[in-house]
Symmetry: C2
Subunit: 224 residues, 2 copies
Amino acid sequence: MSIARAFNPEVLSLRPGTNAPGSLTGALDMMGAEMRFPRNAEIFGEGEPAEYLYRVVRGTVRISTLLSDGRRQIGAFYLPGDVFGLEAGELHAFSAEAIGDTTVVVVKRSTFETLAVSNREVAQELRTLLAMHLRRAQQHMLLLGRKTAQERIASFLLQMAERAPAASAVDLPMSRQDIADYLGLTIETVSRTLTQLEHIAAIRLASSRHIELCNRAALLRMDA
Amino acid sequence: MSIARAFNPEVLSLRPGTNAPGSLTGALDMMGAEMRFPRNAEIFGEGEPAEYLYRVVRGTVRISTLLSDGRRQIGAFYLPGDVFGLEAGELHAFSAEAIGDTTVVVVKRSTFETLAVSNREVAQELRTLLAMHLRRAQQHMLLLGRKTAQERIASFLLQMAERAPAASAVDLPMSRQDIADYLGLTIETVSRTLTQLEHIAAIRLASSRHIELCNRAALLRMDA
DNA sequence: CGGGATATTGATTGATTTCAATGTGAGTGG
DNA sequence: CCACTCACATTGAAATCAATCAATATCCCG
């Protein structure tokens, strides 16, 4: 049983609203219950009913699926501000786990669907959100399909940098294994490729989780 | 300039409606202008404004993007009945081409967006459609990430079979190159893997475009 | 019956995986 | 404060799968 369902979000205290009513993320903040998940806790599992919509407040979330023999594909990482948990059908196609201690706000999906019926702004936002997820999935597809290890790592670093406070360095919340499973590589290849990028002075590995992008142009060139 | 814009769909004669008003595909059929594209014609190009929504009537469509050095990734194939052309932003992230002679119906996106505002059924359908595309993209991601050539081909064949009239055989509208670019493999690997599957009697290559699935269980086992 | 595009098959190369060992860093308890 | 430990990361050597290079083969169409 996932931790998400061990609690009942509805009975948790509501947090005071912080912004525009009517907007989806606003509604999430206003009506959402805050939940905390420790490192590696499951937020929802593959195949479980998709009852809630989530927004990351602090920490990082990964969604993933397992192949029968244990190979894992990570579908996306969600950073603070990201909304996740939207699904095509009634069931989650991926499972979601906290990477490191993570706080999310949660609202019932049905709440939104009700809202969307009367509130065209929310309906529009739900569509925009879905479209954004679709675009990201397509981008990820491109990355997995025909790129070399070096290109994948370069794309990944640039992608993370886009979302980082400082564009010239990234703090990776996830392990090498997570990166590998996201990029369709092995942990060894990720490690080797990073060292290789350091050798050509495209990056600097300040520590294993903190990477400085010394030569953004070089990375962009690799991004193909 | 893409052929799609060489015509103006609005001046083409409207076809009589054939079904439920209010439904999205119904509206597409009713209000949509029919357009024909010869083999390999571009329906829309990457980076062009996403002004229309399309539905395949006859034929097959592929959406693809090119990497800088010519590598191509096919994002999806659309068969008769499929709706495509929805986009996150204002611009197409992929280009779309007809595989073989193809007929589509087209409506302006703005028409739908107007409709969606007043008609919650259409709004709901747009969301469902987006969600379906997202699910497919995620599925495709899985296929590209950590699967062997054999697993990719098996998945692909099963996926095509699901949509075929007879589940025990598939007629492939696309070339080996298209399959390769969809699966992130080379044409040679696709070809070799198909012969290999024939050798183990999982399939039979009646002709290069017509494949009989002799042993669905074996393919499912490979699907991992 | 060409002729060009499409597909298959073969030989070889090469990138990434796999197997294996070593290194590093954070947290714990002595 | 240091030694210990465990998880995580890096590095090395060998094996493997798919890509590449190259040659036929087949199909479709005029």
